[in-house]
Symmetry: C2
Subunit: 740 residues, 2 copies
Amino acid sequence: MSWVKVVGLGVGAAALLGLGIILGHFAIPKGVERPVPQDLDLEILEAVMKQLDAGKIRENLRELSRQPHVASSPRDEALVQLLLQRWGDQASGLDEARTVEYEVLLSFPSPERPNLVEVVVPNGAVLHAYLPKEENVTGEQGGSDVVQPYAAYAPSGTPQGLLIYANHGTEDDFQYLLNQGINLEGTIALTRYGVAGRGAKAVNAAKHGVVGVLVYTDPGDINDGHSFPNETFPYSWGLPPSGVERGSYYEYFGDPVTPYLPAHPSSFRLDSNNASGFPPIPAQPIGFQDAEGLLCNLQGPAAPASWKGALHCEYRLGPGFKSGGDFTEDSQVKVSVHNHLELRNSSNVLGIIRGAVEPDRYVVYGNHRDSWVHGAVDPSSGTAVLLELSRVLGTLLKKGTWRPRRSIVLASWGAEEFGLIGSTEFTEEFFSKLQERTVAYINVDISVFASATLRGQGTPPVQSVIFSAAKEIRSPGPSGLSIYDNWIRYTNRSSPVYGWIPSMGTLGAGSDYAPFIHYLGISSMDIAYTYDRSKTSARIYPTYHTAFDTFEYVEKFVDPDFSSHQAVARMAGSVLLRLSDSFFLPLKVSDYSETLHGFLQAAQQDLRDLLEQHGISLGPLVTAVEKFEAAATALGQRISDLQKGSPDPLQVRMVNDQLMLLERTFLNPRAFPEERYYSHVLWAPRRGSVATFPGLANACSKANNTDHGSEEWAEVHRQLSIVVAALEGAAATLRPVDDL
Amino acid sequence: MSWVKVVGLGVGAAALLGLGIILGHFAIPKGVERPVPQDLDLEILEAVMKQLDAGKIRENLRELSRQPHVASSPRDEALVQLLLQRWGDQASGLDEARTVEYEVLLSFPSPERPNLVEVVVPNGAVLHAYLPKEENVTGEQGGSDVVQPYAAYAPSGTPQGLLIYANHGTEDDFQYLLNQGINLEGTIALTRYGVAGRGAKAVNAAKHGVVGVLVYTDPGDINDGHSFPNETFPYSWGLPPSGVERGSYYEYFGDPVTPYLPAHPSSFRLDSNNASGFPPIPAQPIGFQDAEGLLCNLQGPAAPASWKGALHCEYRLGPGFKSGGDFTEDSQVKVSVHNHLELRNSSNVLGIIRGAVEPDRYVVYGNHRDSWVHGAVDPSSGTAVLLELSRVLGTLLKKGTWRPRRSIVLASWGAEEFGLIGSTEFTEEFFSKLQERTVAYINVDISVFASATLRGQGTPPVQSVIFSAAKEIRSPGPSGLSIYDNWIRYTNRSSPVYGWIPSMGTLGAGSDYAPFIHYLGISSMDIAYTYDRSKTSARIYPTYHTAFDTFEYVEKFVDPDFSSHQAVARMAGSVLLRLSDSFFLPLKVSDYSETLHGFLQAAQQDLRDLLEQHGISLGPLVTAVEKFEAAATALGQRISDLQKGSPDPLQVRMVNDQLMLLERTFLNPRAFPEERYYSHVLWAPRRGSVATFPGLANACSKANNTDHGSEEWAEVHRQLSIVVAALEGAAATLRPVDDL
C-alpha cells in the first residue's frame, strides 16, 4: 500500500480510537454512577417566590378566621381536616400528611357560670358587676363559640378583698407597695399586662398574701393612649375599651401533667392538684373600660409616674376605694373564677416532603393552628402563609418539577395558646429522631404583627440564611428596597465582623420554637413582619388575644393588600429552600462568636472582680471562647476550600453534620435542675441582671449577698464550669473531624 | 477496493472504536471519580490475625508489670511515656498520640502510719496486732512502691468495738444479725468480699451503727477452699494467706468531686467533705490468714450454712470473742485507718488512626493502664494486648498497606482502679463529639482471667460482630475448635431467633465501658478470656488486686504460652477492624428484640397483676416492643436489599447512622435523678428483684408495700411511661428515614 494510504489508514484508525475513547468516557454511564451533587436551584427558588400569591393568602385567612377555633374545639378539628385535605391534594399536596393526637390538660371557663368581677359591700350586696366579655361591636364577638375572657389555668375561687393597684405585678412592684406601708394581705391586686409574664403576676401576688389578681390592658400600653371608641377598632387599629387579652397563666410550657413524656392516653400523668406551675390564686383578665371603673375609684397614695398609664384619672395605689366616688370606702372587689381543668384531644398535623438525596435530614417548619377567638392575626396570619407556601411547594412536587434534597416537615401545632403544648409533645415523642436529624426549625406563628419591617429572631447560625433570603426579596410597598435594606433601617446594630446589619432577636419561650431550641438544641428561628416602632409603642398589636382579632381587622388595619403576608411567605419559603436544598448547609456557626464574645465581655466587665474575690477566675472562659472562635473560623475556611472544588457528597455530609450538630453541643440537661425543659446553656432564661451566660448571671445574682464559701458561690463556680465545658465541647466538634 | 478489504477495514475500524470505547470507559478516571466503596479487606484482617504475636504480648507484659504502677505514681507516668513512644514509633506507630491530663481526687494510705488492725483490751493494751501487708513470698511484694492494702476512699479513724461477723455485709445480712438479737451499735463488722460492692458493705454497716468494717477474702470464695501455702501462689494458682484485695470503696464512678465535668485544674469541685459516695465509716481489707485469727475466735450463735466459708473453724457471729481462745471475752477489735484524700494528676493516652473515608466516625478501643500493685493480670494483661495490636495496626499503617475506613481511637485510661476515673473524665470532656460520632466502644481491661474460654459482655447490637470474629479465629489449645465453638461449650443459651448460641453478659460498672454505655449511650462491649466454671468457683482470679498479681503468676498459672492473650488480641483486632472497615456497620440492632421481649415477659409474669391493681396497664409496653421489633426487622431487610446492589455511600451512611445512633435512643438523663451518670433505660442498675426494665423493677420494689395512689406507685407509672417512650422513640429512628 502507498504511504498516503498508510497514513490515511493510521489517521482514520486514530480518529476512530479517539472517538471511541471519547464515547466511552462520557457517554456510557458508569455502573455505579455518582449522583450529580444537587444544590439549590435558583430557578426553583425564583419560581416559588413568584408563585406565592397575596390574594390566596388573603383567602386562606378569610377561611381560617371565619370561626373561633380554640384548641380542641370542633372548628379546630375542622381546620385539621382542612389541612389534611390541602396537604393531601392531588395537584398541590405533599408526599404525606397525617395527624398525631395527644390528650392534654387544658383549662376553660364555665359557660353556665361566667367569671365575674364585682364590687361588693360587707353585707354582700353588689354595688357593681362587671362581666368580662367583649362588646359585640362587629357582630363577630357574640357567638357562643367565643370563649369568655379568662386566665387559662388560674384556679377557681371567689376571693374578695380591698383593691390595690400593683402596676405590672412584678416582685419589685409588690415591694414598692410594701414600702409604702400598704398591707397586701387579703387584697385583690389590679395589675396591667406587660413586663412580667401572666402567671408570674399571680405568683408574685400570692407570695405577699394577695388573694386574687385582675390583669387589664392599659390604653397607654396598647393604643398609644387612645381609648375612645372612634380611635379603636372597628374605626382604627386600637383595642376597643371592652377588649380583653386572654392567655395562658401557666408558668412552664408543654402539657402540664406529662412533662418530658408525650401526652398519650396511657402516659403517666402528674396529679393536676399537685402539678406545679399553675397560678396559686384565682386570676381574671379584664378590659380597660372595666379597669377604669375600678382603678379610677381607688384611694391611697398616688402611683409613681412610671406606674401611670393613659386612663383618664389619677392612678392611686389603694387599698380600697375612695369615698365620694362610685363605691363606698368599705366596699371590696370580689373576683369569681369558675375555670376548670379538662383533658382534651389536640392534634398536630404533619405534612411531609421526602428528601431526594438526604431524606434523613429534616427541615421543620411550624405554625400553631389554635387561636383564642378568631385568631386572624394570631395565629391564622401564619397559618394562611403556611397553606400558601405548601400549595406552591406541593404543586412543584406533584408536577415532578422539584423534590428537595433534604426532607421537609410542615407542622401545624395544636394547643399552643395553652403553653406550646402541641409542639412540645411532638419534641417529647420524637426526641431522638428529631435531635439526630433536624437541620433547623423555622417558626412562623403570627406572620404579620404590622406591615413595616421584617422581624427575625433566632440563634446565630441562622442569621446568614435569613439575611441572604432578605436581600433577594423585595419589601412590600413602593420603596423598591429589598426586605433586607428596609429591615436595616428599622433595627440595626454594629457587628465587629459585618459592620451595620439588621438586629436579630433571641429566642425565649414565646412560641413553638421553644422546645426545639431549649430542649432539643436545634438551631431555630422565627420570621414575621412587624411594627414601625417610631409610630407606635404598643406592647403588641392591640387586638391580640381578643375577640377583635378578626379578618376585618387584618384587612383594614394590618395588611390590606396582604403584601406583608406575601413577604413573610417568601422569606419563609426562601429560607426553607435554602436549608432543604443547598449542598452545603447555610448554617454559619462562626456567627456564634459574636454572641460568645458579648457574653464574655459583660462577664468581664461586671463580674470579674466579684468572681475573683471568691477565688473564681474567668480565664478558662476566655480560653474557651477563643478556642470556639478559632475552630469555627477554621471550619469556615475548610468549607470555603471545599466549595471551590467538586467535593465528594460524603465529605460535604461530614461538614454539614458538624454544622447541624453544633447547636446540640450547648445542651446540658443537668445545668438547670429547677427549670422545665431549659437545657441550652446560652439561651436559658436569664433572671440575673448581667447580660452574660444565663447560668452564670443567675447564680451570681443569687450569690451576691451570701458569704464566702456559701453554696451559692459554689453554684457560681459550677455554672462557670458548665459553660466552659460546653464551649470547649462545641469547639471540639468544629475542629477537623479527624483531629481527635 | 475489494469487498474483503472493505470488510477488513470495517472490522478493524469497529475494533479500534470498540477498544477506544473500552479504554475511555474504564481506563480514564472521571473528573469527579467516586471512591470505590471501601469494605473490610479480608486479607488485611487475615494479616493482622497472623501478625499478632503471643511472644510479643508476653514481652509487653513482662515490661508493663515489672514495677507497681498505681495511678499517678512515677511508674504510671513512665508507662504513659512508653505508650507515647510506641504509638509515636516511625515504623509501627499511629497517626498521632497524645496525653490528656486531669487533676483527680485519689485516696492513699499513709506510709508513715500504716493501717492497722488490733485486738485490744479495755485498758488499751494490745493483745494482737495485724499489719495488713502481704508476705514477701516471691521478692516482689516488699518494695516501697507496693501500696499497703487499704480501702480507697474509706475515711480515716480509729474505731473500736466488739467484733461481729456479717457475711457479705448486705442489708439482708445485717437484718439477719438483728433478727438473731445481736446489737450492732458500736461494733466492728468483719465481712467477706463478694455479693455486695465494697463500699456498699460500709454503707450498710453504718446504717446499723457499726463503726468500722473489715473485709476479707475467704478461701472458699477464692481458692476453692484451698488455703495452705503449697496450694497457693507461688506453688499454685491460689491466693496466699497473706494476700489482700485492694479496691475502691467509692459508691459511684468518675472523679468524685467533678461529677459531669472534666477534672481540669480550674473546674468546679465539690467540697470533698461534702461529696457524696464516700464510705461513711472506716474500712480496711485483710487477708484470710488474719481473718482466720479474728473470725475463728468469735463467740455467739453459729453462722448459718450459707455464711460459712472454708476457714478451718466454726463460723460464729459474735459479738465479741470467746473465752478460752486467743483473746479475752472483753477484748475488742480496733481498726486504725490513716487514709488521706489527695488531688493527683492522672493522664489518659490517646492514639489515633484517622479514617480514610469516614474520619468522623470513631471506633474507640480502651484499656486502663493503672494497677494496684504489679497488676500483671489487672490490667497489664490487657495493656500488653493493646500494645501488640497497636504495633500490628501501626505497622500496616506506616507501610501504607492499610488505613481504616473510619477513625480508630486507642485509649489508655488512667485511674480506673479508683472508679473508672480516666474514662469517665474523657466522656465528660468530649461528650458531644463522642456521642455524635462513636460507632462503638471496645473495652479490654483484663484480657485473660483464665485460659478456658472467651467471655463477651456487651449490648445486643455488638453480639453479632463478636460472634463473627469468634467463628473465624482458632481457640488456643489443641482442640482445633474456633473460639466460637469452644465458647459455646462453656456458656450458652437458647435464643428464640438463633437457637443455641454463646451467652453474652451485660454491662454494669465493672470497667471503663460504664460511662460509654450509661452516660453516652454508645454500644459497648468487653472482651476477655476466662475460667472453666466447672473447674473453679473462684469469685475472681485469686491474686486479684493483690501484690501477687505478677508476671510470674501469669506465666506459671494463667496463660503460660500466652495463647489466650493472643486469642483476645485477635478477637479485639478482628472486632475493631470489622467496625472500622466494614462498609455496612456490623451492629445488629434487631438483636435488641430478644432483650426487650425478655424484659417484657418478666414484667408480664411477675408484675402485670400487681400493676393492674394500681390501674397501670402493660399494654403500651407490649405495643412499643412490637413496634421496635417490626422496625428493627424491616431495617435489617432494607440493609440486606441494599447489600445486594451497589449502594451509594450516602445511602449506606444514612443506614449506618441509624445503626450507630440506636443505642442513644435509650438514654434519658431525667429517668434516674438519684443515680450518678446512669441514663440508659435498659441497663441502669436494677435493685428490684424482677428481671425487667430496671426503672420499672426498682420502682415496683419500692412501691410494693405502699398504699394505692402513693407517690411510689406514681413513680412506677412514670418509669413505665419512660420505657415506653424510649422504645417508641427507638423504633421511630429505625423506620425508613423518610417515613416521618
